[in-house]
Symmetry: C2
Subunit: 221 residues, 2 copies
Amino acid sequence: MSQMQSVEKQLRQMILGLEIGPGEKLTERWIESRIGASRTPVRAALLRLETEGLVGRDGRGWTVSPINLAELEQIAVYREAVEVAALRLTCALADRGAVDVIEAMLESCDNDTPREEWHRVGMDFHIELARLSGNEFLFRAVRDAMTRLSRARWLEVRDEAALARAWAEHRAILAAARLGDADEAARLLSGHIVGSRDRLVTSLANDRRGLRARGFAVVAA
Amino acid sequence: MSQMQSVEKQLRQMILGLEIGPGEKLTERWIESRIGASRTPVRAALLRLETEGLVGRDGRGWTVSPINLAELEQIAVYREAVEVAALRLTCALADRGAVDVIEAMLESCDNDTPREEWHRVGMDFHIELARLSGNEFLFRAVRDAMTRLSRARWLEVRDEAALARAWAEHRAILAAARLGDADEAARLLSGHIVGSRDRLVTSLANDRRGLRARGFAVVAA
DNA sequence: GATACCAATTTGGGATACCAAGGTGGTGCC
DNA sequence: GGCACCACCTTGGTATCCCAAATTGGTATC
């Protein structure tokens, strides 16, 4: 793999893993020494991550994008549009057996599964579901939206009950999709996304003070 | 304006204006001499245009993205999802007076208007309509989709009748939106997008031979 | 003590030099 | 004539250097 892609990957992981906090200033030279590559690939990585919304410009200079509650709400609306469209396409497909692969993915999480896994599988559910539609643009839209949501979801305080409910909703969506019941699947998915958004925004708004204390910039809705 | 943004702008214009044909090979050094900037801003521009889908990598090396009929069809599905969602949001708005601005935009085109203007305004209709929703993500999605469609629409052979019908459809959509009739507006917009796609793909498929003769790579659906 | 101003450092933007990999054309052998 | 092989050249990837602007820190003045 070229160094350019490697820098991008490492930097993205540092940002998504909150190793670099939302709102922190970035300098190309710091990244250069931190990652061990020269400025050229570092700049290429920053340009890419900028289009993903993970970093942004702060006048002259780079900043890790803060958590933006207003943005999270807009993303939810966007997700609802593209995910529902993808799901409807999938429901119209002749072969919907592929949903079983996703169901197996969900089953792979049990009580012993580390939190990281739950986090990743929770996002992959939506991403893989969109992939099934066969539409590259819908798929990319969902994947990019989930990437943007990733840090916020990581910060969200979720109790066992909420987690279990989300998993149940995922399974219900798959069940409806397997039957080809597009309207029901779409209805369930919409509700799931809206519910997720509400819990997410509420949780972050409540924790805002604590998050800021940890050095994480959280912009209000 | 920084040189980097200028290079990006110029290069995008050259690609969208078909000054550089779909499928053509690009070398960083050629662009460098053509635009009159060094490789650093050229590379930055290429990285950005890559995320817009206007250029792509061809193993080692850059290529102006060919016109891809399968991609055009997928984009239409994607557009339908995001544009309809945006339109429904707009219909739910308290103040829908802003649609008048768009209507005025349409009126600005008459028989004397050069073809370039028609082309631009035809796309801006969809972009500005999405902007009214107030959702940044839906707006960007529509804008980026229209950018990707731009070259294909430029190549499309459109008769007067088709053009007039498209304009009438635009106006009908606005009329429904002004009344807040979301279902009707959505229905009209869906139909418009699907119809546009059909005419576009059909026209390009028919002209494929001629387009290739002009040096334009056209990938079949 | 506050503030205005200046020097020094830092920073991103741009230019250029260098490199390894891949492609191309030519040449000589079969 | 055809094919294998090799030297050369082009190309993107990387590193490094330079520059202008902006930030910073200190200092002198009021």
